[in-house]
């Protein structure tokens, strides 16, 4: 910025006033820096207080423990225990089981979510749907319902004896158990889809609005039907949004907590350590084992970061390959 103004300065200002101009410039820069600082401070303060300090505390807690030797009835002292808590977490079959559950949940949920939201957005964008604004609002509205309320609504619909849905099925001589051994995970996926499908659809729809109309027209002129236009022209053009939605959905899915926590009230098939987040909650507040909870939190954070990075890296490489072609 200064480079562009410099040639003009000597011509306008006599040499005697050069230090004054310099001072003015410095003051301007200081003001800019102050403005930057003021505007960015809230972000950094929040980053520090709600992210970095908690993460730091968790890491600290995971390496220390209030130990008592032997049977444990002696006086407590806080000692450095190295990776002991991590070893305990990673050899805990209930934690690994929780990771497995969430992996299965992601495998079912993420493809359904991305494909479903994209399909709905393409439908809306193609103009095939009537009452577009109404459909958009209707699909988006569940996202405005807080997760805990959503889980309560579905808990009502899933619980035998009070659910009108199960009653309706029963009248048709169909027995459904939404909270059985094999149905409980799909039931949770259903809640999450209901809550978030509309939101992601809006993201995709917004991205589709940015696709240049001439490209669409060109594809129509070239003889592509609406389906082909949607799948082979529009979809690749909103690729960046798809990756973003996939990553956000993944991060959200790994922290699965509210829905199973509430459904566990009604179904013994959801254990208190159903997902890693529930394991952490259980370790901290039911088992008062804070080192274990902290270690599990750090493991979950590492998994989330690694997976997010993996997805970005993988899609980035795919993009590069595409461009090279």
């Amino acid at each position: 910025m200064t480079a562009t103004t410099r040639p003009a300065v000597p011509a306008l200002a006599p040499p005697a006033t050069a230090p004054a101009a310099h001072r003015a410039r410095r003051a301007a820069r200081r003001r800019r820096l102050t403005a930057c600082g003021v505007l960015m401070a809230p972000f950094f303060v929040l980053l520090l207080t709600v992210f970095l300090i908690p993460v730091g505390t968790a890491v600290y807690l995971s390496f220390y423990s209030d130990d008592q030797p032997g049977l444990g009835f002696g006086p407590e002292r806080t000692v450095f225990v190295g990776l002991r808590s991590y070893a305990a977490v990673l050899t805990d079959p209930t934690f690994l089981g929780g990771l497995g559950t969430v992996a299965l949940y992601c495998l079912i949920y993420i493809p359904l979510m991305v494909a479903g939201a994209l399909a709905l957005a393409l439908l809306l964008d193609s103009g095939a749907a009537r009452l577009r604004a109404f459909a958009q609002l209707g699909l988006f509205l569940p996202h405005a319902v807080p997760g805990i309320i959503a889980a309560l609504i579905w808990l009502y619909l899933y619980t035998p004896g009070i659910s009108p849905v199960i009653d309706l099925f029963a009248r048709a001589d169909i027995t459904v158990d939404f909270l059985g051994v094999h149905t409980v995970l799909p039931s949770i996926v259903n809640i999450a889809l209901w809550s978030n499908l509309g939101y992601n659809m809006v993201v995709f729809y917004a991205a589709l609005q940015a696709v240049p109309r001439e490209v669409i027209e060109a594809s129509v002129v070239d003889g592509a039907g609406p389906v082909r236009t949607a799948l082979q022209v529009k979809t690749p053009l909103v690729r960046a949004s798809i990756v973003m939605v996939a990553i956000f959905t993944l991060i959200w899915a790994l922290q699965l907590f509210t829905e199973p926590m509430l459904l566990s009230q009604s179904s013994p098939m959801i254990s208190s350590r159903f997902s890693p987040s529930m394991y952490i909650y259980d370790a901290a507040f039911n088992r008062t084992n804070y080192s274990l909870a902290a270690a599990a939190s750090v493991v979950l954070l590492a998994c989330t970061v690694a997976l997010s990075y993996g997805v970005t890296r993988f899609t980035g490489r795919a993009d590069a390959a595409e461009e090279a072609r």
Binding site: G70, T91, D92, P93, P268, M269, S271, N286
Partner: protein, 444 residues
């Protein structure tokens, strides 16, 4: 634009409400209520979920000048009471006295919440208490809490239905299994008993009776063997009954179970002595239909029983007046007036850990519900048979949850009871290791 803004903030506020509520619930209260007072009166705080505690406290405060108790009713352990106690202790404002059930005593002792009160429990109090009861709260020769009641497991049965099907209370488990078959064959829709999927404490009592040692501290380390030979025997026994459909299998804390009992579909209940009173309160309409008998035995020549239920009182690490706290505890568990006050709040059949109090309980108990049967005489005999080998583990709530989650899956057709025991053990070990305890896993 402003409209959208306000809507979003409303939503944010809505979403935040449950959160702040939860956080508020986490932080312990009660710090303010404790004060040492200006005069010579010592004020102590007492937390309990037990019914009749307020009456006991009132009676104590009426008869004592030097020590006065502030009582706070809290939710029962599993409903948040234990979490409340842990959080309060973490924040340094636990009450002087907390109520802890037997299975959770070692956990709170290890966490340093329950104070070592060996020196405060004098010989007079020690002599008054049943040794098996005090044994459950003593570790490495140190006492961490004082038992209020100890509850031998007994057989509650429907005398009218037993008569109809020509049954008599089983003396052995083999007889009991035989009866389960008979009931299934002859009584449509009825079963002899329920195997509770949420019943770790029941299963523990069965295993205890059979001679199991889930946790053993005799060699200076926590030896964990939830699937030892006696436990496997018990598991195999119930598995046979479950596989043959000869018992109900569902949660006992459920409407389903209430319906089974209310409609006379289940003929017996295997629970602690306390449940006689609870049954009277819950189903007054079944007056005269129930009787109580000793639990069936594996070997009638060498009878033994386990316990199911029972509470203890601990002085916490935060107490500034442990002697005063101990005075109240000693009075509460051993003075006839304390039991009378507790019973004034409603019917109870708890079996006191201080056998001297049995006449008080017997006197207050209305026998007509059990057809005039002197159930206290039975409890007294059964309490003598409580096996002394048992020790609860350091993280019993967690062990319980994992085991019951697995039981529930057995009820849903997945796995077996023996596997549930192994699963519970595998889910317990990481906890103990992360706590830094010495552990071993030898199984008999």
């Amino acid at each position: 634009m402003p409209g959208r803004h306000s809507r979003r903030s409303v939503l944010a506020a809505l979403a935040a409400v449950p959160l702040t509520g939860a956080l508020g619930a986490c932080s312990g209260t009660g710090a303010g209520s404790r004060s040492s007072g200006t005069s010579s009166i010592t004020r102590i705080t007492f937390w309990s979920a037990l019914r009749g505690s307020q009456e006991v406290v009132d009676a104590f405060n009426r008869t004592h000048d030097r020590v006065q108790v502030d009582f706070q009713q809290i939710p029962s352990g599993g409903q948040g009471g234990y979490a409340k106690l842990s959080n309060a202790a973490r924040a340094g404002n636990a009450p002087d006295i907390a109520t802890i059930e037997y299975p959770q005593v070692p956990g709170f002792a290890i966490d340093g919440v329950a104070r070592d009160i060996t020196d405060l429990v004098d010989d007079r109090l020690r002599r008054k208490l049943l040794p098996q009861a005090l044994g459950l709260t003593t570790f490495e020769g140190r006492v961490f809490s004082v038992p209020l009641d100890i509850e031998p497991m007994v057989l509650h049965y429907r005398a009218d239905l037993f008569e109809r099907y020509g049954l008599r209370p089983a003396r052995t488990w083999d007889e009991f299994a035989e009866q389960a078959r008979t009931v299934r064959r002859e009584a449509a829709g009825r079963r002899l008993v329920l195997f509770p999927t949420d019943g770790m404490t029941q299963f523990a009592a069965y295993a205890w009776q059979a001679g199991a040692r889930w946790f053993d501290t005799s060699k200076g380390a926590w030896n964990v063997s939830l699937a030892d030979a006696p436990s496997r025997r018990v598991a195999a026994y119930w598995q046979r009954l479950i596989d043959a459909g000869e018992v109900f299998m569902n949660a006992v804390e459920s409407r389903q179970s209430d319906a089974q009992l209310g409609n006379g579909l289940v003929l017996t209940r295997l629970t602690g002595a306390w449940d006689a009173g609870a049954q009277m309160n819950a189903r007054p309409g079944q007056k005269g239909q129930w009787r109580i008998a000793p639990l069936p035995q594996w070997d009638p020549a060498r009878p033994s029983v386990g316990t199911h239920g029972g509470s203890t009182f601990a002085v916490t690490k935060d107490s500034r007046h442990p002697e005063a706290a101990m005075e109240f505890i000693a009075w509460q568990v051993s003075h006839p007036d304390a039991l009378r006050a507790r019973l004034s709040s409603g019917t109870s059949s708890q079996y006191p850990a201080a056998p001297d109090l049995v006449p008080v309980g017997r006197e207050a108990f209305d026998r007509s519900y059990y057809g005039g049967q002197d159930i206290y005489a039975l409890f007294e005999r059964e309490a003598e048979k409580i096996g002394g080998q048992w020790t609860w583990g350091p993280r019993m709530t967690a062990t319980q949850k994992v085991m019951q989650d697995s039981f529930a899956r057995v009820g849903g057709g997945q796995g077996s009871l023996v596997q549930s025991l192994r699963t519970a053990q595998e889910g317990t070990m990481p906890d103990l290791k992360a706590l830094g305890l010495s552990t071993t896993q030898h199984s008999t």
